[in-house]
Amino acid sequence: MSEKELGGGVAATAHSRATQAQIIVGELCEQFAARGEDDPAAIVFFCGHTLDGAAIAAGLRERLPNTEVVGCTSAGEYTDGHYGRGGTAAMALSRAKVGRCAAALAQLGEGVDAGVRAACASLSARLGDVRELDADRHVGLALIDGAHEREEEVNEALGNVAPFLSFVGGSAGDDIAFERTQVFCNGERSEDGAALLVLEMAPGVPFRVVKTSHFAPTETAVEVTKVGGTGRLVLELDGRPAREVYAELIGVEPDAMTNGDCFPHPLGLMIGGKAWLRSVLALPPDQPGALLFACRMLEGATLQLMRPLDLVEDTVAALDEAAEAMGAPIVGAIQFDCAYRRLEIEARDIAVDYHRAIARQSLVGLHTHGESWLGHMNQTLTCLVFG
C-alpha cells in the first residue's frame, strides 16, 4: 500500500488504511461521526482492488441502515486529506445537501439494456419515474465495472431511460490491470455491473457536473476508417494502417512506438469545442498495424490529435469555473479521475501539488479505468461538485 498525508479535511470525508473490512467500516464511521455525520443520506466509497469491498459496503449498510451505500474498486483513491492506493476513501452525503436518494445495482451479464432498465425501474419506484425527474434538482452517479468494455452501452442505456438526467461517474479499477473490477451497492456486489445512485439535492443546494482534461486540439485531424473487435480496436486511420498513421502524427517510428509515447497524445472527438478523449490503451502484438483504444471508436468519425497542457492548472480552472457557474463555493466534490492522469502525476512528481490544489473542499475521488458522463471517455476528470 502507498499512502500520503495531506493534513486533513474538515467535512464528511473519511479514509482508512486498514485491510480488514470490519476495521475499515469502524474507522470510516468513527470519522464520519466526528464530523457530525451519523445518519447521512448516502455514502460513496472507493477502495483498493485487493480489499473486500462487498464486506465494506455491507458493513456500512449494517451500521447505517437508512443510508444508501455505493462504491467500487479503484486504481488509486483519495480524499481532501489523503491520497494513495490500496486504502479506502469515502464521503458521507449529508441530509442537509441531499433530500432523497436511491441506489440500485444493474447486473449487466444478461444484457446491458435489460440490466440498466431493471435498476432504473427500482430507482423509479422510490423516486418517481427517472425519465421525468427534474434535471435541475437531480443527478446520478454511475460506478461501472471497468474490465468488460461495457461502459458505452451503459451510458447509452441510461440515456435511453432518462435522456435529460446526468449520470456522472467512471469505471472501477484494479490498478490498471483491467482483469477484475468490482462495484458495490448496499449489500450487493458485481464484477460485471453498474452501481447507480440518484440524488435529489436539497432545495437551494447548487451542483454541477464537471468534465475536464488538460489537452488542447492541434490542427491535425484523422478519420477513423476501419474498426475491429468490440469497437475499440482501430485497424485503419485515413485508410491506412492505424499504427503507422498515428506514429507519423506523434513523430515516432511505428516499430519503436511504445505506450508511453501515446499517453501525451490522445485523440479528441470535438463536440461544441470540447474534446471527448480517446486514448491508446495498447499496441496489440498480434495485430501489428492496429491500435487498441480504451474507448469505442466510430468508423467515419473525425478526431483531432491533442497536445498536453498543465494538468494542475487545468483542473483548478475547471473547478473554479464550476464554482462560478454555481454562484457559490464548492463545498463537496466526488471525482472520477483517470488512472492515466495518475500515471502522469507520478511521472512528473506533482502528486503533492495536484492533491493540495484540488483539496480545497470536502473531496472523495478515485483513479478510474475510464470516465463517464453522457458517454465513455479517457484521460479525463469527471466530477460532481456541489455548493
Binding site: 425519465r131 451510458n155 447509452e156 440515456g159 435511453n160 435522456p163 435529460f164 472527438l269 463536440i271 461544441g272 471527448w276 466510430l298 468508423e299 467515419g300 468519425a301 453522457l374 458517454g375
Partner: protein
C-alpha cells in the same frame, strides 16, 4: 415514426421543436454525437443528406424515446 427525413437539417429542426429548451436540445445532441459520430447541430456536408447516416441518427433518437414526425418540421 416517419422514416422519410431527407436531411439531417429536417431531423435537427424536428428535434428542436420536440424538445423546446435549447440547453436540453444541446444535451441530446451530445448524446447523438457520442453514439453516432454525427453532429446534428451543424451537420457536415458529408452527413447532411446521407441516407444511412440519417437513419442511424433517427434510430438513436428513437432509442432515447424521441420519435419524430416529418410534419413537425
Amino acid at each position: 415514426m416517419s422514416q422519410g427525413f431527407s436531411s439531417l437539417i429536417e431531423v435537427r429542426d424536428a428535434l428542436r421543436l420536440r424538445i423546446g429548451d435549447p440547453d436540453r436540445f444541446k444535451f441530446i445532441a451530445i448524446r447523438v454525437m457520442l453514439r453516432t459520430g454525427v453532429d446534428i447541430e451543424a451537420p457536415s456536408d458529408r452527413h447532411r443528406e446521407h441516407g444511412r447516416t440519417i437513419r442511424r441518427v433517427v434510430a438513436a433518437l428513437v432509442a432515447m424515446g424521441f420519435e419524430l414526425e416529418e410534419s413537425s418540421t
